[in-house]
């Protein structure tokens, strides 16, 4: 089962049909998180801390409770007493105590915007007025925002019980470093000392936000019998169920989470912020309660991806072969321990064959919102530093930067930083495709420069449950537990139609709620088309087998004499050889030949492979203003097999533009008071349509032997290379190496005009 299909020409895989949810979305009918309303619903609102760090001396909610129309008020005291429990749901491991504390502060607020109390009222206006009646007495504490400041002796401590993990001997004093990770092999110091050429640099960046356009929203309804329903937009409704049940200490089966359409996530919707609070308000009021964030709240209290300080040293011999690499970085975790350092260590320099490698990452707590996964979490930051350093090294060596990468690129069998060998990766194929692409050799105009950068992301598999069922007329429904953020229903329908060899429109795909399908991990980690797709193929294959068995019964022939061919059961032996039946004909008689036909596949998908990309970027720099215009952009990526190429290209284009935004203008800006200064789309400058050109994509297809159609994950890789690709292009245009993001006009100008 699941043997790779290598010869057969695909009928559906690789085609570009219209997505099944498309018409709903172009006509405004699709229901997203903020669109859902329940009968009798109350409107909730959340009071947030104005201080970056303070002890909560008291919260007086009596006036708010007395306001006409207010039905419930909640604070952190409404959570049950929790025991520490580290769970891997959503993205990465979190302690449920921290999850609960982030939903509503308990004794301390840890960042500006930290939720302190919540109300539910009959109108949104009353709910907002009630917030203004809640009296919170704060004892302000010194706060810390910077990475090095947070690690300094005497820095304000966020958590008195936080001892750095991964340090030997175990620390005796608490610290803001939650974890230190170190991997590598060889003697880096000696190899660096002996290298003919070395480069070193220190790179920095501020946190950035995922920037999904749909703010978080949910409705929760918790009945007196303990059973609850939650409607929300999330990357993983099973994660919402698990986390909400855990922080409220109730059985998971008592919560049914209905996934609504989701307006973007990029990793930022893999946890809970609102759902447990809405549950508490619902329990107290006896009514469904809606909670939604404003854009301001999204910026202050959700996401972001960590900012970073990264130090890199790379050494090469005179032929340009890399001999040693040392990478050490610190990432912002924000208020609670985050997950990015592990991925950062794994994603730093493993794409090159280097005998002496050491990568060290430290997670640093500070008075900022808790960092959350953002598209290839932890990888773009460290990649920016490494791929910039390699560009610099190419300059020192006098070797073409693409050639230098090819000369050192890791291939199947080479060890990753962890020591685990690479599987069937397509990194060299991407570099070869870049070299062959007309973009790489196109002429440049005045003030223009070209940069290239490569990068990778490990991708993921994991648990997915799928049911494929046959309707009485021979049409198929594929039910998955994977929220569809970017067209995955189309990809699932394609794969099922491929297995069943029936028209695409004969297969419809839905996202089922937590009570209607088995456990499925979040849509994230570039796992859905791979892992859920694998389950779809398995379930569809089982249905196909059943169809053949049923046809055999209906024809009264031996089971082995029926095959599935060209979308129909065909009798291949005996008297009835050549007899055919469609799925519809078999389905019509299914009840009297064994019952309805359906198959379930519940798997923990293994065999995922990482994705690699190489991006070529041309910029034009205005030498007087420092303004950088992206003139041309080509993103090349090994996608395994593109099931629906439009949506694969779309992932690559979207990721590239997010990376361009990160490179050029996006950054959290904090004022001296520790408050976020740019909590809106006007001053948090994501790229608009006029900021970018078309993003050319090249899909390199090096199939994954462990997926029936060769799928590798595609969603995350494309955000990894752009940061350095843009920086390297700016270097090409100006001769200046920018090591601090964002490379906004004022930064570029300062580099070009050091005297001001």
């Amino acid at each position: 089962m699941n043997a790779p299909v290598t010869i057969k020409q695909f009928r559906h895989v690789g085609t570009r049909p219209v997505r099944p949810d498309g018409v709903d979305k172009v006509t405004g009918k699709a229901l997203y998180g903020p669109d859902f309303k329940a009968p009798g619903m109350l409107w909730g609102a959340i009071l947030r801390s104005p201080h970056p760090h303070a002890r909560i001396a008291s919260i007086d909610t009596r006036k708010a409770e007395a306001l006409a129309g207010v039905k419930a008020v909640a604070t952190g005291r409404d959570f049950p007493t929790l025991q520490s429990l580290v769970m891997h749901v959503g993205e990465g491991a979190s302690d449920i105590i921290h999850v609960a504390r982030n939903c509503l502060a308990f004794d301390k607020v840890l960042y500006e915007g930290h939720a302190v109390a919540a109300v539910a009222a009959t109108t949104p206006e009353i709910a907002r007025e009630a917030l203004s009646l809640i009296a919170v007495e704060y004892e302000e504490l010194p706060f810390v925002l910077g990475l090095e400041e947070a690690l300094a002796e005497g820095a304000p401590l966020l958590h008195a019980d936080m001892f750095t993990k991964g340090v030997e001997p175990r620390p005796e004093k608490p610290s803001n470093a939650s974890m230190r990770l170190e991997m590598g092999f060889g003697d880096v110091d000696a190899a660096l000392a002996n290298a003919a050429f070395t480069v070193s640099g220190r790179y920095t960046m501020e946190p950035v936000h995922q920037g999904y356009i749909e703010p978080h929203a949910c409705v929760a309804s918790w009945n007196a019998d303990g059973q609850a329903q939650i409607w929300c937009s999330t990357q993983g409704h099973f994660a919402v169920r698990a986390l909400t049940a855990s922080v409220l200490a109730i059985p998971q089966a008592d919560i049914r989470v209905m996934p609504l359409e989701i307006g973007g996530g990029f990793g930022g919707k893999t946890t809970v912020y609102l759902e447990p609070v809405a549950m508490i308000l619902s329990r107290k009021s006896g009514r469904p309660v809606r909670l939604a964030m404003t854009r301001d709240e999204v910026f202050r209290a959700s996401g972001p991806a960590p900012g970073a300080i990264i130090e890199v040293r790379i050494g090469a011999d005179a032929q340009g072969l890399f001999k040693a690499a040392y990478v050490e970085f610190k990432y912002h975790s924000g208020a609670f321990p985050a997950i990015d350092a592990a991925a950062g260590v794994a994603s730093a320099i493993g794409h090159y064959r280097i005998a002496n490698t050491r990568v060290i990452g430290t997670e640093v707590l500070c008075n900022r919102p808790a960092a959350k996964a953002y598209r290839a979490p932890g990888a773009p930051q460290v990649n920016f530093a490494v791929e910039s350093a390699i560009d610099e090294l190419a300059g020192k060596l006098g070797i073409d930067p693409l050639e230098l990468r090819l000369r050192n690129a890791a291939a199947q069998g080479d060890p990753q930083t962890s020591g685990v060998p690479w599987g069937r990766i397509g990194w060299i194929e991407c570099l070869e495709a870049a070299k062959a692409h007309p973009h790489w050799s196109a002429p440049l105009g005045p003030n223009q420069g070209r940069g290239i950068a490569g990068g990778y992301w490990g991708n993921y598999g994991g648990p997915s449950t799928v049911v494929v069922s046959l309707a009485e007329d021979g049409t198929f429904t594929v039910a998955t537990g994977s929220p569809d953020i970017g067209g995955s229903r189309a990809a699932m329908a394609i794969m099922a139609a491929e297995v069943l060899d029936v028209p695409y429109q004969q297969v419809r795909c839905i996202v089922a709620d937590t009570a209607s399908i088995g456990v499925s991990m979040v849509t994230g980690g570039s796992r859905t088309t791979f892992a859920t797709g694998k389950a779809v193929v398995e379930a569809a294959q089982a249905v196909r087998r059943t169809l053949c068995e049923r046809a055999a019964r209906q024809w009264n022939v031996p089971a082995g004499s029926v095959e599935w061919s060209d979308g129909e059961a065909v009798c291949i032996a005996g008297e009835k050889a050549g007899t055919r039946a469609t799925a519809g004909q078999i389905a019509a008689r299914a009840s009297h030949s064994g019952g309805p036909i359906a198959a379930l596949s519940a798997i923990n998908a293994a065999g995922w492979l990482p994705g690699f990309g190489a991006h070529i970027c041309d910029v034009e720099v205005d030498p007087e203003t420092g303004h950088v215009r992206i003139v041309r952009y080509t993103a090349i990526q090994d996608v395994g097999t593109a099931i629906h190429p439009d949506y694969v290209e779309g992932q690559i284009q979207g990721g590239a533009v997010q990376g361009i935004g990160w490179a050029l203008n996006e950054a959290y800006v904090y004022g001296a008071s520790g408050r976020l200064d740019n909590a809106g789309f006007l001053d948090y400058r994501m790229p608009v349509a006029s900021d970018v050109p078309m993003i050319d994509t090249v899909m390199v297809e090096v199939p994954n032997p462990d997926h029936p159609y060769g799928v590798k994950g595609v969603g995350e890789v494309p955000i990894v290379p752009p940061l350095a690709a843009v920086a390297n292009a700016i270097h090409g245009a100006t001769g200046k190496r920018l090591r601090d993001l964002p490379m906004a006009p004022d930064r570029v100008h300062a580099a070009l005009h050091p005297q001001g």
Binding site: R16, V18, R19, D21, G22, V23, K25, V26, T27, G28, K29, A30, L31, Y32, P34, D35, E125, Q210, G211, Y212, I213, E214, P215, E261, I262, G263, G264, G265, F266, T294, R295, I485, G486, G487, H644, D646, Y647, E649, G650, Q651, Q653, G654, G655, A656, V657, Q658, G680, F681, L682, M686, P687, V688, A689, S690, D691, V692, M694, I695
Partner: protein, 162 residues
Amino acid sequence: MSRIHVSTTVNGDAAEFLCDPAASLLDALRDSLGLTGSKEGCGSGDCGACTVVLDGEMVCSCLVFAAEAEGRAVRTIEGVAEGSVLHPVQQKFLEHAALQCGFCTPGFIVAAKALLDRNPDPTETEVRYWLAGNLCRCTGYDKIVRAVMDAGAQLRQERTPA
């Protein structure tokens, strides 16, 4: 403060609602009239997800008081298709896969239709600047721009007398 009674026209049909004086047109469309196709991404006119056409001009409905709609004509995403026949912009968004999550899509479609209504043959640059008030975080804009230009081509073809 008591609520204001507003009589207006939405997608060609008379519509009435009561609103808080501080409510936005977007609030009224979504919460009073049940037209949730217009989305709120920011509430400050910076994302364009709530774009509607008010008396012939596209605006952010989050930056219009609901009370201002009195006597005016509003067109929303729900009024772009004619019955079940999609507008060419909608059709081209589907064909070009110009949406991923789809949350910004209603605003883009209303804005793109407004552009093509006045200029059916825009350049890529004109499309990009016209749509600069509509944020999309998923697509990188590439397929959106292609869809809009292709819709323009189709509209031009439809309008050319045979």
